[in-house]
């Protein structure tokens, strides 16, 4: 069991990296959808004028 810290570190790193990537993906997606929605509204407003 003296190598347990190595085993723990390896698995922790995998989960942390995957979690952070998924979190960033979610944030990028939400921001992109929000920007797209704002642009569409802007275009519609311009078209009405």
């Amino acid at each position: 069991m003296d190598h347990f810290p190595y085993l723990f570190s390896a698995y922790a790193i995998v989960w942390i990296v995957l979690f952070l990537y998924l979190l960033s993906l979610d944030r990028r997606g939400r921001r992109a959808e929000r920007d797209l929605e704002e642009l569409r509204k802007l275009l519609q407003a311009k078209a009405v004028k």
Partner: protein, 231 residues
């Protein structure tokens, strides 16, 4: 995080999540501890599948890049960009977990073994690919240069696969070419490795679908901007 599920179809996250929990159960509760390496050998069950997912990502980059060069369709370019990012994530995991296994087994975090060196080269090629995509702008010429880089980079994968046998480096051959070869003697070890490999492939597919969806929206925004402010 709700959208991450809905963006890639309703089923996949519900397969990947429990599948990963099943993999952890197999790794920590079922497989026997390896006699020589001890518990640290269990790092293999995530290290090797991460390498498979990375290779899959870079193969997808090369195929999608070739199709983009041939047809000029932006959809293939998007697939290549998304797969390159994911390939890099998994390749980074390989390069982080490998040294953690190597330190107690080899007594060193790193050695310039042929397989390790080839993997660093692979990582560097696709890092260059992603830098080119990030800072090269939306120019189609940049997309074409990147596509060539994406195809050339994947040529390193077969070299990594055969490097253990070709140059007899320190890196162990986890799965041998013939029965009895390789480091996984117990059948449950092999089953766990392949099961975890399947889970990583499904995780890769799910993340690829989510990344593609985000890229589609980002490209749509870019197209609207170009329409409003033509160059």
């Amino acid at each position: 995080m709700k959208r991450l599920g809905s963006w890639a179809g309703p089923g996949l996250p519900w397969i990947v999540g429990p599948g990963m929990l099943g993999a952890l159960y197999l790794i920590f509760m079922v497989v026997p501890t390896e006699r020589v390496q001890g518990i640290v050998q269990r790092i293999f069950y995530f290290h090797v599948p991460a390498a498979w997912a990375a290779f899959l990502g870079f193969v997808v980059v090369s195929v999608a890049s070739a199709l983009f060069l041939w047809s000029g369709r932006a959809a293939y370019d998007r697939v290549a960009r998304a797969a390159a990012e994911l390939g890099m994530i998994f390749c980074t995991l390989v390069l982080l977990t490998g040294p953690i296994w190597a330190r107690p087994i080899w007594g060193a975090w790193w050695t310039w073994d042929p397989r390790l060196t080839m993997t660093v080269i692979l990582w560097t090629i696709y890092a260059a690919y992603l830098l080119l995509r990030s800072f090269g702008g939306a120019d189609e010429a940049v997309a074409r240069y990147a596509a060539v880089l994406g195809i050339v980079g994947a040529l390193d994968i077969p070299l990594i696969m055969i490097s253990v046998r070709l140059w007899r480096g320190m890196h162990p051959s986890v799965i041998g070419a013939r029965p009895g070869e390789g480091g996984l003697a117990d059948p449950s070890m092999r089953f766990t490795l392949f099961y975890t490999g399947l889970c990583f492939v499904l995780l890769f597919v799910w993340m690829l679908l989510v990344r593609l969806r985000v890229l589609r929206v980002e490209d749509e925004i870019e197209a609207i901007h170009r329409r409003i402010h033509p160059a």
